[in-house]
Structures are given as structure tokens and as C-alpha cells.
């Protein structure tokens, strides 16, 4: 090989190695941070598309409607728990410590992000409610399709 080609080969292979390293790192970081979305029914029976149930300890997002009368508060602290339900009928209990969003109410669709504690319990580190009266995350809307919305707060 003449020196010029050798130099080019070196540069090219260095580029390839560097690029694949970078891509590998990005994909690895991505793998660690993907949170699948489940409805309460899917947590109990497995995902609609694949039938796979989440494992205990897995990070996930769950979306559903807050069951009426299920919000329980700890009198001493900001611990709170509530049940989520969807149109499949499954019920999952969510535990959360902190301040619930302004639009969190019973009978509302919400999304929580957290860790699966056991088959029907999720420990959430974040609870999101929809941001205005019109908007609901599409996934939650799908999960609640056909259910009666209890709009007690509306005129």
C-alpha cells in the first residue's frame, strides 16, 4: 500500500470505530431510559401488542382514570395513594409522595411515571395531569375510550 492510501485507510477506520462507539453509547443510554406505557389492564394482563407483562422493579409509565373515592392521604406527610382504572377494567394502585398537579382530581385521566412494586402496585415519582380541559394524552384517551367521564367539576 502506498503511504497516501495507508493514511486514508487509517482515517477511515478511525472514523468507523469512533462512529460505532458513539452510536453504541447512544443506544445504550437510550436503552436505559426508555419507559414503556401501560394501561392498568396491561399491567395485569400484559401489553396489548405483545402480551408481555412488566417485571417487578421495571420503570414504566401508566395512564388511566383516577377511580372515584380511591384517593387516600397519609395525615402526617404528603404520601398519597390512588387507584387507576381503564376501559379494560383492570385496577392498579399508585403510591406517590409529593404535591399532585393542579388538575389532579378523581374521575380524571392522568399519567404517572414510576416503578412497578408488585403485580398491581406502582410507586410513582411523577404524576402528570392534563393541562387544560380540552387536552388529554392520546394514550390515556385511548385507554378511557367508552368510559363514563365523571365531570363533577364541570358546570
Amino acid at each position: 500500500m502506498n503511504p497516501r492510501r495507508k493514511k486514508r485507510l487509517l482515517i477511515t477506520s478511525a472514523l468507523v470505530v469512533g462512529l460505532s462507539l458513539a452510536v453504541g453509547l447512544v443506544l445504550f443510554a437510550l436503552q436505559q431510559n426508555i419507559d414503556l406505557f401501560y394501561t392498568p389492564t396491561e399491567i395485569i394482563e400484559g401489553k396489548k401488542e405483545t402480551g408481555i407483562k412488566p417485571e417487578v422493579g421495571q420503570r414504566l409509565r401508566i395512564g388511566g382514570m383516577v377511580l372515584n373515592g380511591s384517593v387516600k392521604r397519609d395525615p402526617e406527610s404528603l404520601k398519597v395513594s390512588f387507584d387507576l382504572i381503564d376501559n379494560g377494567g383492570g385496577i392498579v394502585t399508585v403510591f406517590f409522595t409529593g404535591i399532585l398537579p393542579d388538575l389532579f382530581r378523581e374521575g380524571q385521566g392522568i399519567v404517572a411515571q414510576g416503578e412497578l412494586l408488585n403485580a398491581t402496585q406502582v410507586n410513582a415519582f411523577e404524576v402528570l395531569a392534563k393541562h387544560d380541559e380540552e387536552y388529554m394524552p392520546p394514550e390515556v384517551a385511548e385507554a378511557l375510550e367508552g368510559m363514563d367521564h365523571l365531570k363533577t367539576d364541570k358546570k
Binding site: V26, L78, I99
Partner: protein, 650 residues
Amino acid sequence: MLAEIGQFALVIACMLSLLQTVYPLYGIYARQQNAIESAKILTILQFFFVAVSFAILSYLFLVNDFTVTYIATNSNSALPWYYRLSAVWGAHEGSLLLWVLLLSLWSTAVAVMSKRLPIESIARVLAVLGLLSLGFYLFVLLTSNPFLRTLPYFPVDGRDLNPLLQDIGLILHPPMLYMGYVGFSVAFAFAIAALMEGRLDSAWAKWSRPWTMAAWVFLTVGIALGSWWAYYELGWGGWWFWDPVENASFMPWIAGTALIHSLAVSEKRGVFKSWTVLLAISAFSLSLLGTFLVRSGILVSVHAFASDPARGLFILAFLILIIGGSLLLYAVQAPKVKSRGRYRLFSRETMLLTNNILLIAALIVVLLGTLLPLVHKEIGLGSISIGEPFFNSMFSILVVPFALFLGVAPLVRWKRQNIKELFKPLLHSLFISTAITLIFLYSFASHFTWLALMGVFLGFWVLSTTCYELCLRATHRFSLFTGLTKLGYSHWAMSIGHAGFAVMIIGITMTQNYSIERDVKLAVGDHIAFEHYDFHFDAVNDLQGKNYTGSVGVFTIKKDDQYVATMKPEKRIYTVQRMPMTEAAINAGVTRDLYIAMGEMLPDGAWAVRIYYKPFIRWIWFGPLMMGFAGILMMLDRRYRVKKSDEEEA
């Protein structure tokens, strides 16, 4: 009647934009001077009609005409007049009208202010801009008409503007952001026109550069405003959430930042030209992509407006047409572009290339993180979300080489640089920045973390190399003081812009590493203390606003037993939409913010309260403001000023 006139004006503007696209191009083809010169008039006329349309919509908002559907759903007679005006762009239809208004404003600015350019080039640029306008006019008229009537059964009062949007931040944030988004259309049009002409030279880069810079300034300030607004208005004290819609504005910004740097190389050295064109196309395409993501409702986001599949489909088609068309043109024409300049491996050119590579890497990270959930869902694998840690860790990695090179690059000469000459300045800077970092952390940090050390060091590294370079350049021929006054505006612009980046990095690092966030349960009379601060909950009073009621908490803050401030966070209930809103109380300072937000009243009468201590968070927004100021300075540089003699000529 007025609403119909508004819509009619919009239709006329749409027709004019069609003419603006076709007629000048025909003129160039048929060599008819009249047709070529008509481009400017058509552009100005188009702007006039869309401005009339926008003014009418604003007027209808002011006089509470609830026979117009858009006004009935987004305004209310109890709303103060300034929010009624900003409600014009508070939702989908009106914000698109603002978009086309700004697009034609930019086009008009190009038509009026580029007297030094050959008329044929301007005609091409305006034709491309006309085509973009045409697309958006059709979009507004066909899928999102703001002038639709509610007749015959119109409501007595409107449903009110979303309370989140009733804020000064929202009066300013969307127009700024849109000016930036839309402004990249000018850079795009210049690039497409140059490709059509088959002529890409340094002159092209020189014309394009101030326009690109203007758009970038607006986008920078717009994003910073949005971040600031989210911080005080959303009530959980974050400044960036990696929300898809934020990412949608961040991607054009990254591409734009790469573009202003590579344009500098193209202008000064005549290299990287086809790459610059590609960046110009990308920056605007990403703006369009952002619009698609936001407007189609395809994304799960706090910013999502009402979704309508027809709208999504329209923008998608438009997106494919514009991006596909311009990339095709690029593929055909770009190989003809020849770069003449030569440069060595170690030179300013390579440094700026590195800047571009790292920015593109960042862009890909954001793009991947934003679009992957979409793809994942569309191919039937279920919905996913990509967590903040992904973006945070990727950016903490990328910022290291970026900031290191950023410090070195301004010291490196064009064409070639002897490495040995750099040892002294770099060693000095290294020493200075390490020393300042240690002193800084010792004074302000409560504990040690490697991440904080790294971030703060990078910030001071950029700051000290920037100052060092300024001094070197100034003392090159004169004494330091005279030298500094003799430096050109664009040199100052570079230094201030880079310093702004450094300030932002320091702010981000300190906020992310040393914030203290406490969600606590407090009853009146309770207090909580941390970081030398004592927060005493004095009282809760009733609150009565114009279109809301609520409660206001009263907190007395003391630092080491010295009175600091009284803070009054509010909990509002907006009466029309029955929507609760948290108005945080913020005590701002250069080195720290104190932040109190009322959560909810608990059954036993105590309140859930959110209390934050946020060190150096103001720096996060002050940095971008410096960058924006730097951009303006660059545009004022002698090279871009229209000379007196030219104006007299014209």
C-alpha cells in the same frame, strides 16, 4: 361583516403569494425585467393584506366579538385588554395567522432592505418565500380558519383563554419564537435561490449571514423566554423538560447555531459552502418539522393543541414537498460547487468543523429522543417515553469537547496554526480557570461533585480563554485599552456570545447540582429551614382577581435570623374554566432564587407547599440574553451596514 373582510384579505394575500412565486420566476425565464421587478411590490402588497387580516382579528378580540368561533373559545369579556390581544396567538388558528404574518414580514424586510443585491437574486429569494407563504395560507384557509362564525347561535360570553397563557411571558414568547422559526426561512430561501442559480460564492454567504443571525437571535431569546416562563408559571420550578415541543424549538436552534458558524467560514474563507447550504436547508426544515410535531397533535406534550388529523396530514405533505424538493435540488446542484480554499489539519477551519460536528451530534441526539417514541408507536411496539436522563447524560458528554474546543478555537488562525504557539495562552488559561473554579465552588457549593467541578470548570475555561484572546488581539498593535476600542463589532460579538454560553453552562451546572427542592406539609405558624434560610408560614388570605379567585399564602423568609423577604405564592381558581393555577412566589437574586409554590390544601387545613432553593438559575437565561445581544452586535458590524452612498443611489 368585519370577520368576512378579514378572511377576504387573507384570500387576497394567498393569491398574491401565488403570484409572488410564479411571476418573477417567469420573468427570469422569459427575461422580462418588469416581471422580475414585480417581486418586491407583490411581497409588500401581500404583507399589507395579511397585516390587515391580522389587525381585524386582533380588533375582533378587543371588542369581544363572540360570533367568531375562535374568539368564543379563547377569550372572555372579563379578560384584561392586553391578554385579549395576546389571546390572538393563544391557540392554533391565530398562532398560524401570526406565523404567516411574520413570514411575510421577513419577506418584506428582504424586499426593502437588500438594495445592494442584484434584482434577479432578490426575485428568486422572494419567489421561494412566496411559495412558503402560499403553503401556509392554504393551510390556514383550508384547515384552520380563525374567522369561522358561530352563527346563528353565538355564546353570550367566551370560554376564556387558558389561564396558563394569561401571562406576560406568553405575550412575548410565541412572537419571539416564531420570528426565529420563520426567520430561518430567509436563510433557506437564500440557499435555494443560490442553488437554483447555480452560484454559491462568498457574496452569497455575506448576504445570507445577517439574516440568519437575526433569526437566530430571535430564536435564542424566544427559547430563553419560554424557559423562564415555564419556570415561574408552571409551578414546579423546572427550566427545561425535554418535552417534545421544547425539543422542536431546540433542534432548529442547534442547526442555526451550526449554520451561523459555518456561514462565517464560507464568507471569510470560501470553504464549506455546500455544507452551509445543507445546514440552511436543515435549519428551516427542522422549523417545519417542529410545526408539524406541535400542530398535528401527534406528540404527547404539555404544549399540544387540539389535534385534527387533516391538519397533521396537510403539514406532513407540505413538509415532504419542501424538504424533499430542496434536498433534490441540493443533490443536483451541490456537486457543481467548488471550494477553493485550502487549510491544514490544525486551523480555524477545522476548529469550526469540529464545532459543527459536535452540534450535529447533539442535534441527532435530540432528534432521536424526540422521534423514536413516534416511530415506536407507529410500528406497533406500543407507546414509550424517553426519560430526561437520556438527554441529560448525552448533553453532559457532548458539552465537554464542545466547550474545550470553543475555548481554543478563537485563538487558532485561519489556514494553519503552529501548535507550539498556543501552549502559552492555553496553559495560562488552564491555570486561571482552574483557580477560579476552585474559589467559586469553595464559595458557593455546599458539597463537592465531579459533575459540578467539570461544568463550572468548562464555563470558566471558555470565559478565561475568551478574555485572553480579546487581550491578545487588542495588544497586537496597540496598548490594551486603545486596542479594545479598535476591535470590530463582530469580534466583540464572538467574545460576548461565547461568554454568554459560558455563563449559561455555569448556571445550568449550579442549578442542576445544588438545587434543594422540598415538598412539605405546612400549617399556618409552621416553619422549615435549610441552606441558612428559614421559611415561616405566616398566614393564608383570600384572593380576588379580575377573572379568578383563590388563596394567597404569606411567608416570611429569614437568612441567619436576618429578614430577607416576604413571599406571597398564590393559588388561583379561574372562574370561567374552573381551572386551578399555581402562581409561584419567587425571590430572585444573582446567586440564588428562592421559590415557593402552594400545592393543595389538605383535608386537615394544612397546605402542601413546594419550597425550592435554586442557585445561579438566573444565569441560565442571562447567558442566552448575552448571546442574543452578541448576535445584534454582529449584525451592526461595518461589513453589513448599508452604506450611505448606496441608499442615495436607490
